[in-house]
């Protein structure tokens, strides 16, 4: 009951934020709406007992990526761009594509609905918290992907530093 109310609240936040993200004129407003949407999804994570992802969503997405976005937006100063046309000339085609994608997703969902109607019979919930379970899994079963991810991040750091560096030649 309480869960459902929270679901409505966070879902509303997420959807409203998403709609504003793709319709607002100024890029800063878009970024702020996206932050609201991300915060709504973070709330949904908390509702589904994914505490670690909740924290990562806030720290990484809102505190990291979105702050980076805001930085770039403020650096490039898009005041003049905000007054121009925001949408493509061929926006109708885009709309049709988006609606088709959404409709197909919903149709597939309704086809598969009976298979996830009731919760699967599951093992007894582990006494450990979410973070401990995740750590166990991440550093045992998924150790190689984890290391690869760290490599990816390293490459990203080196790449962005190289691009940001002024060419001396």
């Amino acid at each position: 009951m309480l869960d459902t109310m929270f679901f409505y609240m966070f879902a509303l936040l997420a959807v409203a934020g998403a709609i504003l993200t793709i319709t607002m004129r100024s890029a800063v407003h878009c970024a702020i709406s996206l932050i609201a949407s991300l915060a709504g999804v973070a709330g949904l994570y908390l509702l589904q007992k994914a505490e670690f992802l909740f924290a990562v969503q806030l720290v990484l997405y809102i505190g990291g990526i979105m702050v980076l976005f805001l930085f770039v937006i403020m650096l490039v100063n898009l005041d003049s761009a905000a007054k121009e046309r925001q949408f493509h000339r061929r926006w109708a085609g885009g709309a049709v594509a988006a609606v088709l994608a959404g409709a197909s997703a919903l149709w597939l969902l309704s086809k598969g609905a009976p298979s996830f109607g009731s919760p699967v019979a599951q093992a007894a919930p582990s006494p450990d918290g979410n973070v401990e379970q995740l750590a166990d899994l991440l550093f045992r079963q998924y150790l190689v992907p984890f290391e690869l991810a760290s490599l990816l991040l390293l490459v990203a750091i080196v790449g962005s530093v190289l691009m940001a560096k002024k060419r001396t030649s």
Binding site: D3, T21, L53, V76, G94
Partner: protein
């Protein structure tokens, strides 16, 4: 409580609600990706789509009582972070070279 209210407010949120929500978020992301002319907003729409996918992973993982889905979401977030770092650096370079961020005008590979 009237029956239609109990249908709207069940004791626990069914899995399908989360899936429908993330389908909506994903479609909004696609729409933004195709509509907008500003590179930064297009980029934000991509983040929106990634986020919708994460929500699906977490919803299934909650439903099946396994945390593997969280790991996938975590990796998606890591990739999103790497992508944001490189992507925003590219955006800055593009802006430095062409003084515009309209994707229609940044259509050729050469200056």
């Amino acid at each position: 409580m009237p029956p239609e209210l109990t249908q709207l407010l069940p004791a626990s949120v069914p899995l399908s609600w989360y899936l429908v929500l993330s389908a909506i978020l994903f479609s909004l992301g696609i729409a933004g990706f195709l509509f907008r002319r500003n590179i930064i907003t297009v980029f934000m729409s991509i983040e929106l789509m990634l986020n919708a996918v994460n929500l699906t992973f977490v919803a299934f993982s909650y439903h099946l009582k396994q945390v593997d889905g969280h790991i996938f979401s975590f990796f998606v977030m890591v990739v999103a972070a790497a992508e944001a770092a490189v992507g925003l650096a590219i955006i800055l370079t593009v802006f430095k070279n062409r003084a515009t961020l309209e994707i229609d005008e940044v259509s050729s590979m050469k200056l």
